[in-house]
Protein backbone atom coordinates (compact mmCIF):
# COMPACT_ATOMS: atom_id res chain seq x y z
CA UNK A 1 0.00 0.00 0.00
CA UNK A 2 1.07 3.54 -0.69
CA UNK A 3 0.43 6.35 1.81
CA UNK A 4 0.13 9.77 0.22
CA UNK A 5 -0.03 12.99 2.21
CA UNK A 6 -1.68 16.03 0.70
CA UNK A 7 -1.27 19.40 2.42
CA UNK A 8 -2.22 22.94 1.53
CA UNK A 9 -3.75 26.13 2.89
CA UNK A 10 -7.54 26.25 3.40
CA UNK A 11 -9.59 26.77 0.20
CA UNK A 12 -6.60 25.97 -2.03
CA UNK A 13 -8.52 23.16 -3.71
CA UNK A 14 -7.06 20.04 -2.04
CA UNK A 15 -10.40 18.28 -1.90
CA UNK A 16 -11.28 19.08 -5.52
CA UNK A 17 -7.90 17.83 -6.74
CA UNK A 18 -8.19 14.64 -4.66
CA UNK A 19 -11.74 14.06 -5.85
CA UNK A 20 -10.57 13.89 -9.46
CA UNK A 21 -7.52 11.81 -8.52
CA UNK A 22 -9.57 9.27 -6.54
CA UNK A 23 -12.09 9.02 -9.38
CA UNK A 24 -9.31 8.35 -11.90
CA UNK A 25 -7.60 5.82 -9.59
CA UNK A 26 -10.94 4.04 -9.25
CA UNK A 27 -11.32 3.84 -13.03
CA UNK A 28 -7.86 2.26 -13.19
CA UNK A 29 -9.08 -0.40 -10.72
CA UNK A 30 -7.22 0.92 -7.63
CA UNK A 31 -8.85 1.02 -4.23
CA UNK A 32 -8.34 4.16 -2.13
CA UNK A 33 -8.89 4.84 1.55
CA UNK A 34 -9.21 8.44 2.68
CA UNK A 35 -8.31 10.21 5.92
CA UNK A 36 -9.10 13.85 6.52
CA UNK A 37 -7.33 15.75 9.30
CA UNK A 38 -8.75 19.15 10.11
CA UNK A 39 -9.07 21.47 13.05
CA UNK A 40 -12.78 21.86 13.61
CA UNK A 41 -14.85 21.17 10.51
CA UNK A 42 -14.64 18.83 7.54
CA UNK A 43 -17.21 16.86 5.57
CA UNK A 44 -14.95 15.34 2.90
CA UNK A 45 -15.17 11.93 4.57
CA UNK A 46 -18.93 11.74 4.00
CA UNK A 47 -18.66 13.24 0.49
CA UNK A 48 -16.02 10.78 -0.67
CA UNK A 49 -17.75 7.82 0.94
CA UNK A 50 -20.99 8.69 -0.87
CA UNK A 51 -19.42 9.52 -4.20
CA UNK A 52 -16.84 6.73 -4.47
CA UNK A 53 -17.97 4.14 -1.94
CA UNK A 54 -14.47 4.06 -0.40
CA UNK A 55 -13.55 3.69 3.30
CA UNK A 56 -13.04 7.13 4.85
CA UNK A 57 -12.12 8.52 8.28
CA UNK A 58 -11.97 11.97 9.79
CA UNK A 59 -9.99 13.35 12.72
CA UNK A 60 -10.44 16.75 14.30
CA UNK A 61 -7.20 17.92 15.81
CA UNK A 62 -9.01 20.38 18.09
CA UNK A 63 -6.51 21.78 20.58
CA UNK A 64 -3.65 19.94 18.93
CA UNK A 65 -1.83 21.32 15.90
CA UNK A 66 -3.18 19.43 12.84
CA UNK A 67 0.32 18.48 11.70
CA UNK A 68 1.13 17.11 15.17
CA UNK A 69 -2.18 15.31 15.10
CA UNK A 70 -1.15 13.82 11.74
CA UNK A 71 2.02 12.37 13.29
CA UNK A 72 0.03 10.91 16.18
CA UNK A 73 -2.70 9.19 14.17
CA UNK A 74 -0.92 8.23 10.95
CA UNK A 75 0.48 4.94 12.24
CA UNK A 76 -3.02 3.74 13.19
CA UNK A 77 -4.45 5.08 9.93
CA UNK A 78 -2.01 3.07 7.82
CA UNK A 79 -2.97 -0.10 9.71
CA UNK A 80 -6.64 0.71 9.24
CA UNK A 81 -6.26 1.31 5.49
CA UNK A 82 -4.27 -1.90 5.07
CA UNK A 83 -7.03 -3.84 6.86
CA UNK A 84 -9.54 -2.23 4.50
CA UNK A 85 -7.54 -3.67 1.60
CA UNK A 86 -6.69 -0.27 0.13
CA UNK A 87 -3.96 0.25 -2.50
CA UNK A 88 -3.69 3.92 -1.54
CA UNK A 89 -4.19 5.71 1.76
CA UNK A 90 -4.77 9.34 0.86
CA UNK A 91 -4.43 11.77 3.76
CA UNK A 92 -5.68 15.33 3.40
CA UNK A 93 -4.40 17.69 6.07
CA UNK A 94 -4.79 21.37 6.74
CA UNK A 95 -1.11 22.13 7.37
CA UNK A 96 -2.03 25.38 8.99
CA UNK A 97 1.03 26.75 10.72
CA UNK A 98 3.32 26.62 7.64
CA UNK A 99 6.29 25.44 9.68
CA UNK A 100 5.73 21.72 9.65
CA UNK A 101 5.81 19.41 6.72
CA UNK A 102 3.37 16.58 7.24
CA UNK A 103 5.05 14.28 4.67
CA UNK A 104 6.51 10.83 5.34
CA UNK A 105 10.06 9.88 4.28
CA UNK A 106 9.93 7.77 1.12
CA UNK A 107 6.22 8.30 0.51
CA UNK A 108 4.71 10.82 -1.87
CA UNK A 109 4.03 14.31 -0.45
CA UNK A 110 1.81 16.79 -2.26
CA UNK A 111 1.23 20.44 -1.60
CA UNK A 112 -1.73 22.21 -3.20
CA UNK A 113 -1.22 25.91 -3.90
CA UNK A 114 -3.77 28.22 -5.43
CA UNK A 115 -2.48 30.40 -8.22
CA UNK A 116 -4.92 33.12 -7.22
CA UNK A 117 -3.43 33.65 -3.78
CA UNK A 118 -0.66 35.95 -4.97
CA UNK A 119 2.85 35.71 -6.36
CA UNK A 120 4.39 35.57 -2.87
CA UNK A 121 2.57 32.47 -1.65
CA UNK A 122 5.39 30.07 -2.66
CA UNK A 123 7.76 32.18 -0.55
CA UNK A 124 5.49 32.02 2.47
CA UNK A 125 4.56 28.39 2.95
CA UNK A 126 7.97 27.06 3.98
CA UNK A 127 8.55 23.31 4.43
CA UNK A 128 5.01 22.49 3.35
CA UNK A 129 6.29 23.38 -0.14
CA UNK A 130 10.05 22.91 0.06
CA UNK A 131 9.78 19.31 1.32
CA UNK A 132 6.93 18.21 -0.97
CA UNK A 133 7.41 16.05 -4.08
CA UNK A 134 4.64 17.58 -6.16
CA UNK A 135 3.26 21.10 -6.11
CA UNK A 136 -0.22 21.10 -7.54
CA UNK A 137 -1.08 24.62 -8.68
CA UNK A 138 -4.84 25.13 -8.82
CA UNK A 139 -7.12 27.77 -10.36
CA UNK A 140 -4.75 28.47 -13.25
CA UNK A 141 -7.70 29.38 -15.46
CA UNK A 142 -8.23 32.48 -13.35
CA UNK A 143 -4.87 34.17 -13.86
CA UNK A 144 -2.88 35.36 -16.84
CA UNK A 145 -0.23 33.19 -18.43
CA UNK A 146 2.41 35.74 -17.41
CA UNK A 147 1.41 35.35 -13.77
CA UNK A 148 1.40 31.57 -14.11
CA UNK A 149 5.00 31.75 -15.25
CA UNK A 150 6.06 33.97 -12.35
CA UNK A 151 4.19 31.76 -9.88
CA UNK A 152 5.90 28.68 -11.30
CA UNK A 153 9.33 30.30 -11.06
CA UNK A 154 8.67 31.19 -7.42
CA UNK A 155 7.63 27.60 -6.63
CA UNK A 156 10.90 26.35 -8.16
CA UNK A 157 12.86 28.95 -6.23
CA UNK A 158 11.47 27.48 -2.95
CA UNK A 159 11.71 23.84 -4.07
CA UNK A 160 14.10 23.42 -7.03
CA UNK A 161 13.56 19.65 -7.37
CA UNK A 162 9.77 19.67 -7.10
CA UNK A 163 7.56 18.54 -9.91
CA UNK A 164 4.77 20.97 -10.75
CA UNK A 165 1.28 20.04 -11.89
CA UNK A 166 -0.80 22.97 -13.06
CA UNK A 167 -4.51 22.31 -12.87
CA UNK A 168 -7.91 23.75 -13.36
CA UNK A 169 -9.26 21.21 -10.87
CA UNK A 170 -12.81 22.48 -11.02
CA UNK A 171 -12.96 21.35 -14.64
CA UNK A 172 -10.71 18.33 -14.10
CA UNK A 173 -7.92 19.68 -16.32
CA UNK A 174 -4.32 18.65 -15.59
CA UNK A 175 -5.09 15.77 -13.21
CA UNK A 176 -3.58 12.87 -15.22
CA UNK A 177 0.10 13.64 -14.44
CA UNK A 178 -0.73 13.62 -10.70
CA UNK A 179 -2.42 10.22 -10.97
CA UNK A 180 0.65 8.92 -12.82
CA UNK A 181 2.92 10.01 -9.96
CA UNK A 182 0.57 8.44 -7.42
CA UNK A 183 0.93 5.12 -9.21
CA UNK A 184 4.72 5.40 -9.58
CA UNK A 185 5.32 6.33 -5.92
CA UNK A 186 6.93 4.11 -3.26
CA UNK A 187 4.93 1.82 -0.96
CA UNK A 188 4.87 2.38 2.80
CA UNK A 189 8.21 1.33 4.24
CA UNK A 190 8.72 0.89 8.01
CA UNK A 191 9.97 2.50 10.18
CA UNK A 192 8.00 5.61 9.28
CA UNK A 193 9.68 8.96 9.75
CA UNK A 194 8.46 12.49 9.35
CA UNK A 195 10.20 14.37 6.57
CA UNK A 196 11.98 17.41 8.02
CA UNK A 197 11.96 18.69 11.58
CA UNK A 198 8.91 20.05 13.33
CA UNK A 199 9.44 23.54 14.84
CA UNK A 200 11.08 23.83 18.25
CA UNK A 201 9.50 23.03 21.51
CA UNK A 202 6.73 24.06 23.73
CA UNK A 203 6.09 27.45 25.22
CA UNK A 204 3.74 28.52 27.95
CA UNK A 205 1.21 29.69 25.34
CA UNK A 206 0.99 26.11 24.10
CA UNK A 207 -0.18 25.00 27.51
CA UNK A 208 -2.83 27.67 27.86
CA UNK A 209 -1.22 30.76 29.45
CA UNK A 210 -3.02 33.73 27.89
CA UNK A 211 -1.15 36.84 29.11
CA UNK A 212 0.28 38.94 26.27
CA UNK A 213 3.99 39.89 26.10
CA UNK A 214 7.14 37.80 26.35
CA UNK A 215 7.83 38.85 29.94
CA UNK A 216 4.76 36.89 31.02
CA UNK A 217 6.14 33.64 29.61
CA UNK A 218 8.97 31.19 29.91
CA UNK A 219 10.30 28.43 27.68
CA UNK A 220 11.00 29.64 24.15
CA UNK A 221 10.17 33.34 24.16
CA UNK A 222 10.91 36.27 21.90
CA UNK A 223 10.47 40.03 22.04
CA UNK A 224 9.52 42.15 18.98
CA UNK A 225 12.99 43.59 18.50
CA UNK A 226 14.99 40.38 18.59
CA UNK A 227 14.85 38.15 15.54
CA UNK A 228 16.49 35.27 17.44
CA UNK A 229 14.66 32.82 19.64
CA UNK A 230 16.13 32.45 23.07
CA UNK A 231 15.35 30.74 26.28
CA UNK A 232 13.93 33.10 28.86
CA UNK A 233 13.47 32.68 32.54
Amino acid sequence: MKAIICAGTPTSGKTTVLKHVISKLKKKGHRSAFLKIDVQYADEDTLFKEEFGIPTRKVYSGELCPDHCNVMVLGDAIEWAEKEGADFLIVETAGLCLRCSPYIEGSLGIVVLEATSGMNLPRKVGPMLSLADIAVVTKIDLISQAEREVFRARVLEAAPEISIAETDALHGIGIDPIVEQFCKSESVNYPLYLRGNPPVGTCTICVGKKEIGWKQHFGVVRPLENQNFYRGE
Binding site: T116, M119, I143, Q145, A146, E149, V150, A153
Partner: protein, 267 residues
Amino acid sequence: MIEQISIIGGFGKNGQPEPVKRVDFKMGDVISIVGQTGSGKTTLIDDIELFANENTPSGRKILINGEAPESRFSNNVSNHPIALITQHTNFLSDMQVYKFLLTHASIRGSKDPSAIVEETIDFANQLTGEAIDLNYAMTELSGGQTRALLIADAVIIGNSPIILLDEIENAGIHRTRALDLLKRYEKIFIFVTHDPRIALLSDCRIVMKNGSMNDVITTGVEERKVVEVIKELDDLLLDFRMHIRNGSVLTEKIFEDRLKSVKCLNN
Protein backbone atom coordinates in the same frame (compact mmCIF):
# COMPACT_ATOMS: atom_id res chain seq x y z
CA MET B 1 10.51 25.78 -34.43
CA ILE B 2 6.81 26.01 -35.05
CA GLU B 3 5.98 26.51 -38.70
CA GLN B 4 2.45 25.27 -38.94
CA ILE B 5 -0.51 24.43 -36.73
CA SER B 6 -3.39 22.24 -37.90
CA ILE B 7 -6.84 21.57 -36.55
CA ILE B 8 -8.22 18.14 -37.39
CA GLY B 9 -12.02 18.25 -37.25
CA GLY B 10 -13.96 16.22 -34.70
CA PHE B 11 -17.65 16.35 -33.92
CA GLY B 12 -20.28 19.05 -33.50
CA LYS B 13 -22.86 19.45 -30.75
CA ASN B 14 -25.17 16.80 -32.16
CA GLY B 15 -22.33 14.30 -32.54
CA GLN B 16 -22.10 14.66 -36.33
CA PRO B 17 -18.66 14.92 -37.95
CA GLU B 18 -17.56 18.50 -38.59
CA PRO B 19 -17.94 19.67 -42.21
CA VAL B 20 -14.40 21.08 -42.12
CA LYS B 21 -12.01 18.13 -41.77
CA ARG B 22 -8.73 19.98 -41.54
CA VAL B 23 -7.41 23.55 -41.40
CA ASP B 24 -3.72 24.50 -41.56
CA PHE B 25 -2.25 27.81 -40.47
CA LYS B 26 1.32 28.89 -41.02
CA MET B 27 3.47 31.51 -39.31
CA GLY B 28 2.35 35.04 -40.13
CA ASP B 29 -1.31 34.08 -40.65
CA VAL B 30 -4.10 36.08 -39.07
CA ILE B 31 -7.26 34.03 -38.63
CA SER B 32 -10.69 34.90 -37.30
CA ILE B 33 -13.27 32.58 -35.80
CA VAL B 34 -16.82 33.84 -36.36
CA GLY B 35 -20.29 32.55 -35.56
CA GLN B 36 -23.36 33.12 -33.42
CA THR B 37 -23.13 33.06 -29.63
CA GLY B 38 -23.17 29.42 -28.58
CA SER B 39 -21.86 28.18 -31.93
CA GLY B 40 -18.67 26.82 -30.37
CA LYS B 41 -16.07 29.54 -30.97
CA THR B 42 -14.63 29.51 -27.47
CA THR B 43 -14.61 25.70 -27.39
CA LEU B 44 -12.54 25.74 -30.57
CA ILE B 45 -9.86 28.04 -29.14
CA ASP B 46 -9.88 26.10 -25.87
CA ASP B 47 -9.15 22.97 -27.93
CA ILE B 48 -6.25 24.76 -29.58
CA GLU B 49 -4.90 26.06 -26.26
CA LEU B 50 -5.08 22.61 -24.64
CA PHE B 51 -3.58 20.83 -27.67
CA ALA B 52 -6.67 18.64 -27.85
CA ASN B 53 -5.80 15.10 -28.83
CA GLU B 54 -9.23 13.51 -29.22
CA ASN B 55 -9.51 13.95 -25.43
CA THR B 56 -11.91 16.92 -25.31
CA PRO B 57 -15.68 16.75 -25.89
CA SER B 58 -15.22 17.85 -29.54
CA GLY B 59 -12.85 14.98 -30.37
CA ARG B 60 -10.61 17.43 -32.28
CA LYS B 61 -6.90 16.98 -32.72
CA ILE B 62 -4.30 19.76 -32.86
CA LEU B 63 -1.06 19.17 -34.75
CA ILE B 64 2.13 21.21 -34.68
CA ASN B 65 4.18 20.93 -37.87
CA GLY B 66 1.93 18.03 -38.83
CA GLU B 67 2.54 16.01 -35.65
CA ALA B 68 1.04 15.66 -32.17
CA PRO B 69 2.81 18.24 -29.95
CA GLU B 70 5.72 17.29 -27.71
CA SER B 71 4.93 16.84 -24.05
CA ARG B 72 7.48 19.47 -22.99
CA PHE B 73 4.96 22.04 -24.17
CA SER B 74 2.42 21.05 -21.56
CA ASN B 75 4.90 20.40 -18.73
CA ASN B 76 6.12 23.94 -18.36
CA VAL B 77 3.93 26.92 -19.03
CA SER B 78 6.96 28.95 -20.18
CA ASN B 79 7.46 26.49 -23.05
CA HIS B 80 3.81 26.58 -24.02
CA PRO B 81 3.73 28.06 -27.50
CA ILE B 82 0.20 29.39 -27.15
CA ALA B 83 -0.97 32.43 -25.24
CA LEU B 84 -4.71 32.72 -24.71
CA ILE B 85 -6.18 36.08 -23.80
CA THR B 86 -9.90 36.11 -23.13
CA GLN B 87 -12.43 38.69 -22.06
CA HIS B 88 -12.06 37.30 -18.56
CA THR B 89 -8.28 37.04 -18.33
CA ASN B 90 -7.17 39.34 -15.56
CA PHE B 91 -4.19 40.17 -13.47
CA LEU B 92 -4.70 39.17 -9.85
CA SER B 93 -1.29 40.09 -8.58
CA ASP B 94 -0.90 43.50 -7.02
CA MET B 95 2.79 43.71 -7.92
CA GLN B 96 3.82 46.94 -9.61
CA VAL B 97 3.55 46.79 -13.40
CA TYR B 98 7.25 47.47 -13.91
CA LYS B 99 8.40 44.99 -11.30
CA PHE B 100 6.13 42.27 -12.61
CA LEU B 101 7.18 42.67 -16.24
CA LEU B 102 10.83 42.72 -15.19
CA THR B 103 10.31 39.47 -13.25
CA HIS B 104 8.56 37.87 -16.20
CA ALA B 105 11.30 38.99 -18.61
CA SER B 106 14.01 37.59 -16.31
CA ILE B 107 12.21 34.24 -16.03
CA ARG B 108 12.14 34.11 -19.81
CA GLY B 109 15.93 34.50 -19.75
CA SER B 110 16.02 37.93 -21.36
CA LYS B 111 19.55 39.38 -21.62
CA ASP B 112 18.30 42.93 -21.33
CA PRO B 113 15.09 42.78 -19.26
CA SER B 114 14.65 46.53 -18.87
CA ALA B 115 14.79 47.13 -22.64
CA ILE B 116 12.24 44.43 -23.32
CA VAL B 117 9.97 45.80 -20.59
CA GLU B 118 10.12 49.22 -22.20
CA GLU B 119 9.21 47.74 -25.57
CA THR B 120 6.29 45.93 -23.95
CA ILE B 121 4.93 49.02 -22.24
CA ASP B 122 5.35 50.98 -25.44
CA PHE B 123 3.37 48.36 -27.38
CA ALA B 124 0.62 48.28 -24.74
CA ASN B 125 0.34 52.06 -24.65
CA GLN B 126 -0.29 52.19 -28.39
CA LEU B 127 -3.39 50.10 -27.84
CA THR B 128 -4.89 51.94 -24.87
CA GLY B 129 -6.55 55.27 -24.38
CA GLU B 130 -4.67 56.31 -21.29
CA ALA B 131 -1.03 55.37 -20.85
CA ILE B 132 -0.16 52.73 -18.27
CA ASP B 133 1.68 54.03 -15.23
CA LEU B 134 4.65 51.75 -14.48
CA ASN B 135 4.24 52.30 -10.76
CA TYR B 136 0.64 51.15 -10.74
CA ALA B 137 -0.24 47.84 -9.19
CA MET B 138 -1.37 45.51 -11.97
CA THR B 139 -4.74 45.18 -10.30
CA GLU B 140 -5.23 48.96 -10.57
CA LEU B 141 -5.20 48.90 -14.38
CA SER B 142 -8.48 49.39 -16.24
CA GLY B 143 -10.04 46.59 -18.30
CA GLY B 144 -8.63 48.02 -21.55
CA GLN B 145 -5.19 48.63 -20.06
CA THR B 146 -5.11 45.09 -18.66
CA ARG B 147 -6.04 43.59 -22.03
CA ALA B 148 -3.47 45.77 -23.82
CA LEU B 149 -0.73 44.77 -21.37
CA LEU B 150 -1.66 41.09 -21.58
CA ILE B 151 -1.37 41.20 -25.37
CA ALA B 152 1.90 43.14 -25.27
CA ASP B 153 3.34 40.74 -22.68
CA ALA B 154 2.34 37.67 -24.70
CA VAL B 155 3.75 39.09 -27.94
CA ILE B 156 7.00 40.60 -26.66
CA ILE B 157 8.09 39.09 -23.33
CA GLY B 158 6.34 35.74 -23.77
CA ASN B 159 7.15 35.79 -27.48
CA SER B 160 4.48 33.12 -27.92
CA PRO B 161 4.39 31.88 -31.53
CA ILE B 162 0.62 31.41 -31.41
CA ILE B 163 -1.67 33.97 -29.82
CA LEU B 164 -5.40 33.45 -29.27
CA LEU B 165 -7.50 36.52 -28.62
CA ASP B 166 -11.09 36.03 -27.51
CA GLU B 167 -13.34 39.00 -28.33
CA ILE B 168 -10.82 41.70 -27.61
CA GLU B 169 -13.03 44.24 -29.41
CA ASN B 170 -15.07 44.46 -26.22
CA ALA B 171 -12.09 45.52 -24.15
CA GLY B 172 -11.83 49.07 -25.44
CA ILE B 173 -8.48 48.71 -27.15
CA HIS B 174 -7.63 50.23 -30.51
CA ARG B 175 -8.46 47.41 -32.94
CA THR B 176 -6.95 48.59 -36.22
CA ARG B 177 -3.78 49.67 -34.48
CA ALA B 178 -3.67 46.31 -32.72
CA LEU B 179 -3.94 44.46 -36.04
CA ASP B 180 -1.33 46.66 -37.69
CA LEU B 181 1.08 46.21 -34.79
CA LEU B 182 0.49 42.49 -34.49
CA LYS B 183 1.10 41.92 -38.20
CA ARG B 184 4.66 43.17 -37.73
CA TYR B 185 5.43 40.12 -35.60
CA GLU B 186 5.80 36.79 -37.37
CA LYS B 187 3.21 34.78 -35.40
CA ILE B 188 -0.09 33.05 -35.82
CA PHE B 189 -2.90 35.22 -34.48
CA ILE B 190 -6.33 33.72 -34.00
CA PHE B 191 -9.17 36.09 -33.14
CA VAL B 192 -12.57 35.04 -31.88
CA THR B 193 -14.60 37.99 -33.04
CA HIS B 194 -17.97 39.52 -33.81
CA ASP B 195 -16.28 42.52 -35.39
CA PRO B 196 -16.53 42.71 -39.21
CA ARG B 197 -13.41 44.82 -39.32
CA ILE B 198 -11.23 42.26 -37.54
CA ALA B 199 -12.82 39.38 -39.47
CA LEU B 200 -12.26 41.00 -42.88
CA LEU B 201 -8.72 42.14 -42.08
CA SER B 202 -7.81 38.51 -41.36
CA ASP B 203 -6.40 36.20 -44.02
CA CYS B 204 -9.27 33.80 -43.53
CA ARG B 205 -12.10 33.03 -41.15
CA ILE B 206 -13.52 29.84 -39.72
CA VAL B 207 -17.32 29.90 -39.58
CA MET B 208 -18.73 28.05 -36.56
CA LYS B 209 -22.20 26.58 -36.44
CA ASN B 210 -23.75 24.21 -33.90
CA GLY B 211 -20.41 23.36 -32.36
CA SER B 212 -18.81 22.56 -35.74
CA MET B 213 -16.30 24.23 -38.03
CA ASN B 214 -18.79 24.74 -40.82
CA ASP B 215 -16.72 26.58 -43.40
CA VAL B 216 -13.39 28.32 -43.97
CA ILE B 217 -13.63 31.52 -46.01
CA THR B 218 -10.54 33.19 -47.42
CA THR B 219 -10.81 36.96 -47.54
CA GLY B 220 -11.08 37.74 -51.26
CA VAL B 221 -10.34 40.83 -53.36
CA GLU B 222 -13.94 42.01 -53.10
CA GLU B 223 -13.99 41.77 -49.31
CA ARG B 224 -10.66 43.57 -49.10
CA LYS B 225 -12.31 46.47 -50.92
CA VAL B 226 -15.38 46.36 -48.71
CA VAL B 227 -13.34 46.39 -45.54
CA GLU B 228 -11.90 49.76 -46.53
CA VAL B 229 -15.45 51.17 -46.48
CA ILE B 230 -16.24 49.41 -43.21
CA LYS B 231 -13.09 50.96 -41.75
CA GLU B 232 -14.37 54.41 -42.70
CA LEU B 233 -17.77 53.79 -41.13
CA ASP B 234 -16.21 52.27 -38.06
CA ASP B 235 -13.82 55.21 -37.66
CA LEU B 236 -16.79 57.52 -37.94
CA LEU B 237 -18.46 55.86 -34.96
CA LEU B 238 -15.14 55.74 -33.09
CA ASP B 239 -14.77 59.48 -33.64
CA PHE B 240 -18.18 60.11 -32.14
CA ARG B 241 -17.29 57.87 -29.26
CA MET B 242 -14.04 59.75 -28.68
CA HIS B 243 -15.91 63.04 -28.89
CA ILE B 244 -18.32 61.96 -26.16
CA ARG B 245 -15.56 60.36 -24.09
CA ASN B 246 -13.64 63.63 -24.11
CA GLY B 247 -16.60 65.38 -22.55
CA SER B 248 -17.72 67.34 -25.63
CA VAL B 249 -21.28 67.85 -26.87
CA LEU B 250 -22.13 66.23 -30.20
CA THR B 251 -23.99 69.02 -32.00
CA GLU B 252 -25.92 68.51 -35.20
CA LYS B 253 -23.34 70.61 -37.04
CA ILE B 254 -20.39 68.53 -35.86
CA PHE B 255 -22.33 65.39 -36.69
CA GLU B 256 -23.21 66.47 -40.22
CA ASP B 257 -19.78 67.88 -40.99
CA ARG B 258 -18.23 64.60 -39.97
CA LEU B 259 -20.71 62.65 -42.13
CA LYS B 260 -19.74 64.82 -45.11
CA SER B 261 -16.12 63.80 -44.71
CA VAL B 262 -16.95 60.11 -45.16
CA LYS B 263 -16.17 59.29 -48.78
CA CYS B 264 -18.39 56.25 -49.10
CA LEU B 265 -21.47 58.15 -47.95
CA ASN B 266 -20.98 60.98 -50.43
CA ASN B 267 -20.41 59.16 -53.73
